[in-house]
């Protein structure tokens, strides 16, 4: 793909985003639903960590960070922000295996844009931004209530780590979805990935044993969903570690992007469209 192709495809993006907003505006109750569920979700998880800190005031484990109620509340807000952005930008990865096995990818193939890009862009879900807003409010409240220290610089670094890390995670996930070219329906594999993300994203991974931390950093980088951005934004780790995390995330993005291109092109050779 040439530089011009990439620019041409990116020019389509605002249009896809506009369509996504129009779709969500058609059914406003969904916006309310997203707001309502996110808020309840936050309350329930604050309750969860509240119950834990009711038993012991702070959590320290194998990392250096001490997680009190403030940091844990911030972590929950961060998870919602990350998942909200994920729902907005990356919802389409759930559709990849479905397009391969049931709908067909022929319609994407005949258009002058990358198929995965089209799947992702047509599945943009503006409702996810509600989750980002609610999560953002939660972050602000936790900063104000617990007197947490944040700086504009730490926010920029934290958000960068989140976006790059999330891209790494979801590119890996896209590769798993593309296995549908060979093994057909593979929701089970996605369930495993989902289980890993769902269960570990809300946890301060920093307190876990080193082996688990490495696994969730290099193999399945869930650590970038909430733990790393929280540690960076709240200035809980030194700058050199922040840069190291961002570097690792960038490297993972490159690796999984290359893998995705290889898997997709090989999968296409294996793909047989049926029907008409």
């Amino acid at each position: 793909m040439s530089y011009k192709d990439i620019i041409r495809q990116l020019r389509l993006l605002p249009e896809y985003i506009r369509i996504s907003f129009l779709q969500i505006a058609e059914n406003k109750i969904q916006l309310f639903g997203a707001f309502f569920t996110t808020s309840i979700n936050l309350v329930l998880y604050i309750l969860f960590w509240g119950v834990i800190t009711y038993q012991i005031p702070v959590l320290t484990g194998f990392g250096w960070v001490t997680w009190g109620q403030g940091e844990l509340t911030f972590l929950i807000g961060m998870t919602e922000v990350a998942w909200g952005f994920g729902a907005f930008a990356w919802m389409g990865i759930w559709q990849i295996h479905w397009y391969i096995t049931e709908i067909g990818i022929e319609t994407f193939q005949i258009r002058p844009a990358g198929s995965i890009y089209q799947i992702l862009a047509t599945s943009l879900w503006a409702g996810g931004l509600i989750q980002v807003v609610v999560g953002g409010i939660m972050l602000s409240l936790s900063v104000l209530t617990f007197g947490l220290i944040v700086t504009p610089f730490s926010i920029i670094l934290g958000v960068s780590a989140l976006l790059i890390g999330q891209a790494a995670l979801y590119l890996l996930w896209s590769c798993l979805c593309c296995l549908a070219f060979w093994i057909g329906k593979n929701e089970g594999i996605l369930t495993i990935s989902d289980a890993l993300e769902y269960n570990f994203a809300r946890m301060p991974i920093d307190i876990m044993p080193i082996g688990v931390q490495y696994f969730l950093l290099f193999v399945f980088p869930v650590i970038f969903i909430s733990t790393v951005p929280t540690m960076i934004i709240l200035n809980l780790i030194p700058l050199n570690f922040t840069l190291l995390y961002i570097g690792i995330a960038s490297l993972l993005v490159i690796i999984w992007l290359i893998f995705l291109r290889i898997i997709w092109s090989r999968g296409l050779k294996h793909y047989q469209p049926v029907g008409g």
């Binding site: 569920t37 309840i40 309750l47 834990i52 009711y54 038993q55 329906k185 593979n186 269960n199 946890m203």
Partner: protein, 274 residues
Amino acid sequence: MPFSLRLESYLAVARISFRNIRQYTTDFLTHFAFFPVQIIAMSLVYWIVYQQAWILNGMTVIGGFTFPELISYLFIAIIIARALPRWQLSIEVERDIDLGPLVSYLAKPIDYASFKFFSEIPRVLIYLLFGILTYLVTLLFIPLPLPSLLNVLLFIPFFVIAYFISFLLVFTVALSTFWVYRGWWLRNLISLLMLMVGGGLIPLSFFPPTLQFVFGLLPFQYCYYIPAIILQGFYLPEQLLPIALLSLIWLVVLWLLARFVWSLGRRKYEGPGG
């Protein structure tokens, strides 16, 4: 239609559902990976909590649970939570109403709710079976408490009640599709409440007393918390009668509510096309 014939047709539904599961065996089996992942994630956090409680206060028991008891509780609660109807049923009902297949169910001499109820049973039993196997395999590596035969026998009726209650909760919420287009957020909400307030992630005894009292008034605890602690033997058999009565009252209330919502929804439902 005579009852025996009706029962036979619903059992046939369960058989077909079982065959559908077998069609995608590998895919179905990989779903079980959720058990260990969830248990490992939760156990790691609780391990740190117990370690620190021991270091700070010399505590080995939190909320009435020692660490092995808590891991055993999480295991059982997560197995029950995975087995009982939640997402799948809700999505199916929503799709039937939204996209139109409900019309064909209404034209058949069967009750839609009963059809869904029976078609869920094989999935529940298989999940339960695999959950038990996972627990037994884990016992080879980690010394977790093993439930007594009496507790297993006491657990069975409460698990059946839990199945009824969770089915009715999920089914009734899914019926909201009659009025709310794409009510995924209601589905999320009920699922979250079942998990958190029902003791799927944390035993209710960990909560402060006021919250324990409030959550005790709701039906969610009968889904996961109560069956799990009965299996663990936290209750004496004579303590179970009032709990059984309350859970049955909730079951009847939810059944009446489901019937009411269904009758209202059917009146509103329009299935155009052909």
